[in-house]
């Protein structure tokens, strides 16, 4: 699985991209796994109301199911335009 982080999520975690063999499940399970990896992840995912998710470059919810080849991105609510 490819994980991407943007804006302050990237800054809190300390990297923009990583490959991970995550346990099967949904986005919420992936976040729970990531929070077990260290305080930087705990900090980034402390308030999920401030986190948005995309799976394979489409907006997705915490209940989206994930496969081993998926690209999952975490970022704050968007502020373009």
């Amino acid at each position: 699985m490819t994980l991407l982080y943007f804006a302050w999520v990237r800054q809190k975690i300390g990297k923009g991209e990583e490959k991970l063999a995550a346990p099967a499940g949904d986005v919420a399970a992936l976040i729970a796994h990531l929070k077990s990896l260290g305080p930087n992840y705990m900090d980034a995912f402390a308030d999920l109301s401030r986190i948005r998710v995309a799976v394979n470059q489409r907006h997705a919810g915490l209940d989206a199911r994930l496969g081993p080849d998926d690209e999952v991105a975490f970022f704050p609510p968007v502020t373009g335009g």
Binding site: F6, A7, R58, H59, A73, P76, V78, T79, G80, G81
Partner: protein
């Protein structure tokens, strides 16, 4: 419907974009919106980051949805990334149709959804302070009114 979507560091030229959009002669109306960096207090630089590939794909999906709602002949979206200064152009949404009513409405619709869906993030620099711009609920409200 001719669709042009570009994410770029360089500035853009509104006249050139509208000329390209209308050169086939089918469009009787073009409505465009240009967003600029607003000077607020001691803002020195606004830096825009985006999610390459998803940005283009998401804007293409929004443009398709706009084309389903109104009879359009063309859509152009240009969005800048990188470091910008107060007064700089950030975004262009231009929509062409045979008649003005569709062009006006489609331009506003596409801009409202770009604000809430396209994966861009702004970071402000004020003196030595840097902070990420917070998402505005009023932008969600602007997009949601189209659902009614």
């Amino acid at each position: 419907m001719k669709t042009t979507i570009r994410i770029q560091r360089e500035d853009f030229d509104l006249n050139a974009e509208v000329a390209a959009l209308t050169k086939d002669g089918e469009s009787g109306a073009v409505a465009s919106f240009t967003g600029h960096v607003r000077k607020e207090g001691d803002l020195s630089t606004l830096t825009l980051e985006h999610y390459p590939h998803m940005t283009e794909a998401e804007i293409a999906r929004l443009a398709e949805e706009t084309g389903r709602r109104w009879p359009l002949t063309g859509v152009t979206v240009v969005h800048r990334v990188g470091s910008l200064k107060p007064g700089d152009r950030i975004v262009l949404v231009a929509v062409a149709s045979q008649h003005r009513h569709a062009a006006f409405q489609a331009c506003e619709f596409l801009m409202d959804f770009l604000k809430t869906h396209a994966p861009f993030w702004k970071e402000e620099a004020r003196g030595r302070e840097h902070h990420w711009v917070e998402h505005r609920e009023s932008d969600d409200d602007a997009a949601q009114r189209w659902e009614k």
